[in-house]
């Protein structure tokens, strides 16, 4: 008998991948939205950090 059969008997096992996908998508959307709302000024400052360190 396939292991998957026994796993499917664990209550609600199918929700695992769905929850994980949801967590990721929500997280991703928030990060992306927020990143694009960052002020240009601070981006300019941060992105020059490796160049202005000498």
């Amino acid at each position: 008998m396939k292991l998957a059969h026994y796993l499917s008997n664990i209550e609600g096992v199918s929700i695992y991948p769905i929850i994980s996908l949801l967590i990721f998508v929500i997280f991703f959307v928030i990060v992306t939205l927020r990143v694009f709302r960052m002020s240009d000024q601070s981006v300019k400052h941060i992105e020059r950090l490796p160049l202005d360190d000498e």
Partner: protein
Amino acid sequence: MQLEKFTYDNKLSKLFAFATIFWGVTGMLIGLIAALQLAFPIVNLSDFFPYAAFGRLRPVHTNAVIFAFVGNGFFTAVYYSLPRLLKTSMWSEKLGKFHFWGWQLIIVAAAITLMMGFTQAKEYAELEWPIDIAIAVVWVAFGINMLGTILNRRERHLYVAIWFYLGSWVTVAMLHIVNSMAMPVNLFKSYSMYAGVQDALVQWWYGHNAVAFFLTTPYLGLMYYFLPKAAERPVYSYRLSIVHFWSLIFLYIWAGPHHLLYTSIPEWAQSLGTVFSIMLLLPSWGGMLNGLFTLRGAWDKVRETPLLKFFVVGVTSYGMATFEGPMLSLKNVNAISHYSDWTVAHVHIGALGWNGFMTFGMLYWLIPKLYNAKIYSQRLVNTHFWIGTLGIILYAIPLYVGAFRSYFMMKSFTPEGQLEYQFMDIVSAVLPYYVMRALGGGLYLAGFGLMVYNMYKTCKSGEFVEKEEAEAAPLAPNYQAPKNSFWHSVIERKPILLLVLSLIVVSIGGMVEIIPTYLVKSNIPTIASVKPYTPLELQGRDIYIREGCYNCHSQQVRPFRYEVARYGEYSKAGESVYDHPYQWGSKRTGPDLARIGGKYPDSWHFYHMLKPSDVVEKSIMPPYPHLFTDDVNIATTRSKIHAMRKVGVPYEKGYEATANDDLIDQAKKIVKSLKSADIEISESKEIIALIAYLQRLGTDIKAETAQNK
């Protein structure tokens, strides 16, 4: 605000840079020897020297390249860039020195113990438990030094490279600790806490993320610092780099099960691995494009500055490997690539192209800087670049071709329904590709040699700059973030928060994948006829592990017609419940052994281990003559049984005391069966134990089938 004076100490960056070069050459040389061993078995030298046969040397190569070459490369980048990005000195020079010497000592210990056969037999996590503990200690010291530096910084914002460094550090710590959990038998031997399906899942959760968080994310940090430096312009999109970071670490941690497609792990875990692997393409390519676009409008510079070429091909290789990876995670593609040389070619695009070339690019930029000198010869840099690139192509293409050739031969049936080719026919067919691969690797190493010479001359022409003076204002004590400031900038200013958040992000994936495997334990379809190994078989299994047989032989038959016809019934999860560690393998240079038990008589194995090519014509397996002269150390049986019971194998209470009686009885039986084939050998020899183990493999389920009939 008053400016404070401080210094950047270059000593540790220099030490790590030299260690990178030294271990790079060593690790690749060992790789070249291993490649030659496959092409020309005589190079195994195992007739008179058992320590350097392929099964023991291959882990030395992989560990050296991953942890010694790339590891030291990562540390070079951190010790150079971290203080400069934060405008402060490294927190503790002493801790840095401890980190440096501790790491080098671990590498030496690793090389020696692996060649001696002390191994946990889990890929890229082979090192035995005392070394595992040493790694954890040194790794923590490194982390403390990084955090201390960050807390003492004079720059409020943490540049994205630092996020990659921190994320890598915390994830590697978690992976290393969880995967290395083992029950010691003695100082040099331990058994994995996990067995079978669980062990496989934990191992590839680790194994895949060793690639992700040791070979990829640290080097992305390196890319985000050194590429803008070398190109003298900021990264293409800083915003993209943030999205790159979070989505990459979030997705990577889930992808492990794609190493176990079509094996006996649960279907849902396989699907999860596939889905996340495919999603990984997006952040990976986002990062690659971010790197390449950094050179926008500066491509003329690439022509004039040969070291930039290394970055371009390095980042392009990253793009190629991260495109190939998701494709290999599709089940139908994986059916072809798994166990084949395709995987080997794939990882070398990553190792030689991405890690190798990024390291070279960094060192060509950094070493002249450290020595206040100009590169001795730009022409040599250029030559190195072309030789290296040609080496990568010559390495990979033959293996791709060979992998497809062997696949088509493996699955070919005659019109009568018989397998058309013997396994040995297939090995012989791919042998010429192994020769070409060794040539490619040799070429790449020759290019590395040019760099060693070039850098030696460069160092001689300049003088080492031990300390660089710098000054910066301290952080204002009562910082008020500007109004409407992005919440993310809070994380960015708080390193501990960043660390904790990354740990949460990476542990979600790990937990969702691994916790159900514990549930599996109580739900596993136990097969009544699967019993623990007998003491002699257990000793034989440890010999199998010591010789690194898993480097060329799998023990996992996939449910395909051409595999079942060749090897026997496909593998079931319940069959490996007592396998601490699991031995499913990941590459078939030789045939699968999951059902080898009972297939041949004892005498076949006897002669085969003595000289494989006498039994199987043209075999490329090395001989193991020492198994016929060395005795099994039966003094260890007691503690081995004890340790096995501790990790959950149901040996009866008190069995330790009588285990050796059973061991000798079984050995006598094998000696008797050998005698009937006119072979005289003492029952105490290692070969007897190994035969016992091999003859046991896959027989449990055969017994059950017989019972059911």
